[in-house]
């Protein structure tokens, strides 16, 4: 009995000590990092998707050069960012946004929640990616079917080379893709199939699904669980991922060039911004050489400035494909919901 109470005393003391240690910098104590600055105009708040990442050094560089305090809020993926922007409307609560992609860009432009801005730092190479003066292209990438070279070598099977190949009985059972309703690469691949097959895309998907292609909820499911290459321990040598993924696997995996489609990520200034000049300054900063240079390392995306050099592993294993399958963003915006619903009907029936 006595011994028991002494253990209890010890653990009580331990817990109390932990609680005290922790509460030293909790709600009651207040956190230094989050105190609003003395003047509201000194803060710039950006809404980003949850893959947004930038080194502390770069943030410090931005803050010291402009005098602004940067606040980031990232509630979820690109879909959540788009929805939040449209929902919040006139009271966005943020000065700017980053992470809108070319599949939702037009919807946001039409909703009239962004103010026009053209950055003086916009490189000429980004001209082709520009949609309208409300959105500034920041980075780009490609969604492609990834191939586990080792698997095909070990099994003595030829690698597929076209989208048509994927729908054959030989390759469809080897393919894992993601659901376009819950994953942005999934939507990109759906758009790629529409770009390739036009009105015949539903027949193509029917073949894929009938042939045994697997549909997963999220990218990490296909890449880390289903994939036989890279980190995965699964049974699928063909999975939907990015053109940059092979950079991480030292050449043991590659991409199916005919399946690639472009993803561009844009930034903009909100109409309801409290600090529009601050958001403009951050957009300028995202186009600066230092930030563009850091993109592959920090967000696995490619710079829009073609004067910026890629890391050696990227140049070797993960260069962008020359002729991706692309559609006009306005056409995507008009038809996106209908395509998704049609796709879902197909998928649920399979």
């Amino acid at each position: 009995m006595l011994r028991r109470s002494s253990t209890r005393l010890t653990s009580t003391a331990a817990l109390a000590a932990t609680a005290l240690l922790l509460s030293g910098c909790t709600l009651v104590g207040g956190t230094g990092a989050n105190e609003p600055s003395s003047s509201a105009s000194g803060t710039v708040t950006m809404l980003t998707h949850d893959s947004f990442n930038v080194s502390d050094e770069l943030i410090a560089e931005f803050e010291s050069a402009t005098g602004y305090d940067l606040v980031i809020t990232s509630p979820g993926d690109a879909g959540v960012v788009t929805s939040q922007l449209l929902l919040a409307g006139d009271a966005p609560g943020v000065d700017g946004v980053y992470g809108l992609d070319n599949y939702s860009a037009q919807t946001v432009i039409d909703a009239d929640v962004l103010a026009p801005y053209t950055s003086p730092n916009l490189p000429a190479s980004a001209g082709a990616l520009t949609l309208s003066d409300e959105l500034t292209p920041i980075d780009q990438g490609q969604v492609c079917v990834n191939i586990d070279h080792e698997w095909f070598e070990e099994n003595g099977v030829d690698e597929p080379t076209t989208l048509d190949d994927l729908a054959t009985d030989e390759y469809a059972p080897l393919l894992a893709v993601t659901n376009p309703l819950t994953s942005s690469p999934g939507l990109a691949f759906l758009v790629a199939t529409v770009a390739e097959y036009g009105d015949g895309w539903q027949d193509y998907w029917q073949q894929l699904l009938d042939g045994g292609a697997k549909v997963e909820g999220s990218w990490s499911d296909v890449y880390y669980v289903d994939f036989s290459g890279a980190e995965g321990e699964g049974e699928f040598p063909l999975v939907l991922s990015y053109s940059s993924s092979p950079a991480e696997s030292g050449g043991t995996t590659g991409v199916l060039e005919a399946s690639c489609t472009t993803q561009v990520e844009y930034a903009g200034v909100t109409k309801g911004a409290e600090n529009p000049t601050g958001a403009q300054a951050f957009i300028d900063f995202m186009l600066s050489e230092d930030f563009q240079q850091a993109l592959p390392e920090s967000m696995y995306m490619y710079p829009v400035d073609d004067a910026v050099e890629l890391p050696s592993e990227w140049a070797q294993h993960a260069s962008l494909v020359e002729e991706p399958l692309d559609l006009d963003p306005a056409e995507v915006a008009t038809n996106r919901d209908a395509w998704l619903e049609e796709w879902n009907t197909l998928y649920e029936a399979s």
């Binding site: 708040t45 879909g79 990490s220 920090s298």
Partner: protein, 547 residues
């Protein structure tokens, strides 16, 4: 005293109104309002579709199956782990609560590593089946039943069942006629919680195999984030709320029929007997098969790098990842998580203790109606989609006070809202078991209401407090939905960082996500063990003495 209870009730309701009612109502309002006033045509359209009913059936079916599974496995587990002296009992009790805080993305990975075609249980062919989703939900929630029923069962007077045995009842009959009715309030309360948790499960359903065409939760997510169709989302959210109400009504009925007045005491843990064998078998399967196996899979995968044993993933935890510049490190995220959890725990206890006292009083008339309203208000957050609550914050609190919304101050408050039902449900069954005649006797002898509270309710409350606080802490540690909307990246909590690491290519990020999950599991387990130890063991302890 009476005035104090009304005041406490009002304060709690105000708290819930601001941090839950207002955000959710804003979203529902957008779904049913149009330029010309209120437009309810969406209800007719959505409810007329067969797909909606299929979604509802899937949701209720999954939740019922998971709640049933959690009770069937949780009650025998409780009977062994909480009443018998088993080697490492405290450790096992801590262990089964670990899944409760793990981020669903991680559990998804662990289950698929286990059940996938190349996994050790691949031969069962469960990968991608709805059955595997139910298994995972039971894995998450078995501790809710075991902890609540176990802590209650430990306090039951064994002499009643022994008397029945002496009078010639078989062990089974003694259990069914004496013990089970006494346990019913705790079983019903915990089963209801599990049912509500599972009715809004999202990540695990998405990862392990969504039954076509999905559940209410997955559909609300899609309608809100993909199609921005708030009309449809509002109808589906209404259905979700109806599930909560129905669950509470049924559980209140069950409780009224079975609630016995019992005197809880402290019973020593007894050695295992022959009659315990069936329960011990179920408990062993639950603890080692269902709970330990996925956790072990996770642990093993976290220390395997390129086919060799290595602690590389753990060494990387203080960095933001190899070849990856910037961002919060795992160690920093853990600090954020713990801070938020400490805050959320004391906030939820601050509201939970007076609430439990209010809800456990036996009253009639207007006060009883008031109790029912409060009870419902506390439980509603469990049955509301995280995405509805998250976007709700954006259109309510953030629209009014953007600085506050981005500061991270709201994170522990939102987490406390989610933890509150668990805290209250841990406390109420024990409090209601107090024989009101004890209070009457004390009052007759001249004790003041506060003194009765301190001497009669206090010891029972203190005993259940450890369980409640442990649950609150665990809920907060594992909370993902509301936190992802309210925490800025530089204040990211561990579950959020883990999800982000899993969203990046490269072995290091994946390995770090696994190692971080193991870290989270260990911390949760440790906290649960501590809260076990903190259970006051002497009947003389007062609330003041419990801290």
């Amino acid at each position: 005293m009476r005035r104090a209870s009304w005041l406490a009730g009002a304060v709690v309701l105000a708290f819930l109104a601001i941090f839950f009612g207002w955000p959710v109502a804003s979203m529902l309002w957008r779904g049913i309002s149009s330029d010309s006033g209120i437009d309810l045509t969406g209800y007719g359209e959505v409810l007329a579709s067969a797909r909606t009913w299929q979604l509802l059936a899937n949701t209720v079916g999954l939740a019922l199956a998971a709640a049933l599974g959690a009770v069937v496995l949780g009650v025998p587990t409780a009977s062994i782990l909480y009443r018998r002296r088993v080697p490492g009992g405290a450790l096992l009790r801590g262990l089964i609560t670990v899944p409760f805080v793990l981020p669903t993305v991680v559990v998804g990975v662990a289950f698929r590593a286990l059940l996938g075609s190349t996994g050790p249980l691949g031969w069962l062919g469960l990968d991608g089946t709805t059955f595997s989703v139910v298994l995972a939900l039971v894995f998450f929630n078995v501790a809710v039943v075991a902890r609540q029923v176990g802590s209650f069962w430990r306090g039951l007077d064994p002499r009643l069942a022994e008397a029945a045995r002496t009078l010639g009842a078989s062990p089974t009959r003694a259990f069914c006629t004496v013990t089970l009715p006494q346990l019913m309030p705790a079983i019903v309360a915990s089963a209801c919680l599990v049912l509500l948790f599972c009715s809004t499960a999202f990540g695990i359903v998405l990862t392990l195999g969504t039954p076509a065409p999905g559940t209410l939760e997955t559909e609300i997510y899609t309608q809100t984030t993909v199609f921005l169709d708030l009309r449809t989302a509002a109808v589906l959210s209404t259905l979700q709320l109806l599930i909560v109400v129905a669950t509470l009504v049924v559980s209140a009925r069950l409780n009224r029929r079975t609630e016995a007045r019992i005197k809880l005491r402290d019973n020593p843990e007894l050695p295992l007997r022959r009659g315990d064998v069936p329960a011990a078998v179920v408990a062993a399967f639950t603890v080692f098969g269902l709970e330990l196996l996925p956790l072990a899979t996770l642990l093993i995968r976290s220390v395997r790098v390129d086919g060799a044993w290595s602690l590389h993933n753990y060494a990387a935890l203080s960095s933001s990842g190899d070849g990856f510049s910037g961002g919060v490190t795992v160690v920093e995220a853990l600090q954020h998580s713990l801070q938020a959890a400490v805050d959320a725990t004391w906030i939820s206890l601050l509201f939970g203790i007076p609430l439990a006292l209010l809800l456990s009083r036996r009253v009639r008339g207007a006060a009883a109606a008031g109790q029912r309203v409060l009870d419902l208000a506390i439980m509603l957050p469990l049955g509301v989609s995280a995405v509805t609550l998250g976007f709700g914050y954006v259109v309510s609190l953030q629209a009014v006070a953007p600085q506050l919304a981005h500061s991270g101050t709201l994170v522990p408050l939102a987490q406390a809202v989610v933890a509150l039902p668990l805290v209250v449900r841990s406390l109420v069954p024990a409090m209601r078991a107090i024989d009101p005649r004890l209070r009457d006797a004390a009052a007759t002898l001249g004790a003041t209401p506060w003194r009765i509270l301190r001497t009669v309710d206090g010891p029972v409350l203190a005993r259940a407090l450890g369980i409640g606080a442990g649950f609150a802490f665990a809920t907060s540690l594992g909370e993902f939905g509301a936190t992802s909307f309210l925490a800025s990246p530089e204040r990211a909590t561990l579950p959020i960082l883990i999800a982000r690491l899993l969203g990046r290519p490269g072995g290091d990020n994946y390995g770090m996500a696994l190692a971080a999950s193991v870290l989270l599991a260990v911390i949760c387990g440790t906290m649960m063990l501590l809260s076990e130890y903190l259970r006051p063991r002497s009947a003389r302890t007062t609330i003041g003495g419990a801290w």
